[in-house]
Amino acid sequence: MIGKLNSYLSDIKQNLRLDPASEQEIISELETHAEDRLMEMQEAGLSEEEATAECLGLLGSAKLVARQIYEAHSQGTWRQALLAALPHFFFALLCALKWWNIGWLPVGLGVAIGIAVYGWCHGKPTWLFPWLGYSLLPVVITGLLLLYLPSGWAWVTILLYVPLVLLLLCYIAIRVINSDWLYSALMLLPIPSLVGWFVAAKMEDNFGGFSLKQFNEFAPWIGLSFLVLAITVAIFIRIRQRRLRFVILSVSSVLSLVIVVSAGTLGFPATLALFLLTFAFLLVPAFLDHWMRQGSHPATT
């Protein structure tokens, strides 16, 4: 019967999706409560089996309890919301004011890497994940730039560099998914837009060479798409409900892509591919999370 209680507590823990230290405290608190209740019921004459069944009934649905506790803990402060939105604001400004021409891009990426490393080593707070996404950008941008190498070398990039980058992204994404798959989606949020802008700039140039000139033409639009992401992240940090968080990420991703598409250079196949990429970045973390949890807790549902 104690097994039933453990299974119940494990079910709550699986659905909490908070940092490990907080999860452990919450489970210990609920366990103490259940033990007190069991002791009282057994003293009143109930068998262990009856007491456990009664106790679990009184505690209520594990998923509901986990969801309500998550909502009590998940809301970030306005300061955290601002800190999380800051990299998107910076990149919105960078684009709108064309600061990349005066070399602010490497500075911004350097700061993003520094802050991401600091956050990663200090308990992975919620504000970390947008910074983490930007700290991966140099890797992605290098891959995209390598595609512009003379013919023949692009294949080397596709065959060697891209798989390595995907491996790195998967490793980090899986580590983040272990905390919460929504954070992984939050981290990957700007990548589809960025890929979209690169593709749009390339198409604008009729598949010729590559220069910042094309980006300058799109600068206000790129700035706007990053501003949408900044507002999204701030709202994400402030709202409590998981479903609403997913909805806000989806809406924002679609809105950012609509901005990319409205720049007018993407054809239907490229637009469709970008939308698929966006939803893959949103949904793959959720499927991976489901798969990993099933693998680690085969007995629980």
């Binding site: 210990s28 033990e35 209740r37 649905s61 803990h73």
Partner: protein, 117 residues
Amino acid sequence: MAARQDLLKGNIDTLLLSLVNQQPMYGYQIMRELDGRSQGYFKFKEGTLYPALHRLEKAGLLQGDWQTIASGRQRRYYSITEKGRRILVQQTEQWQDFFAAMNLIFRPRRPETQVSK
């Protein structure tokens, strides 16, 4: 029963602050006090007590501290903070005003002739 649940849901913060204001308590103790003092009027799923306690703690109205009791087990005791006390005073005043107004409505109206005398 549903109306009672709604009333409880709307006032759970005041009830918890009021109980913890009298002395620091742990979750199970709060549940027992709530049940005993209300003579079984306030019944709800025990697991939902903790989200409410944690929400009040996050809002800075309660503070939770782990304490080891004689048997060696650990319990998380909640105590009220200064901010919590201020909010409780406000909420208690609101309740008393509401209760007084409700009583005035419930009380049978005296005939006007008697009033004029």
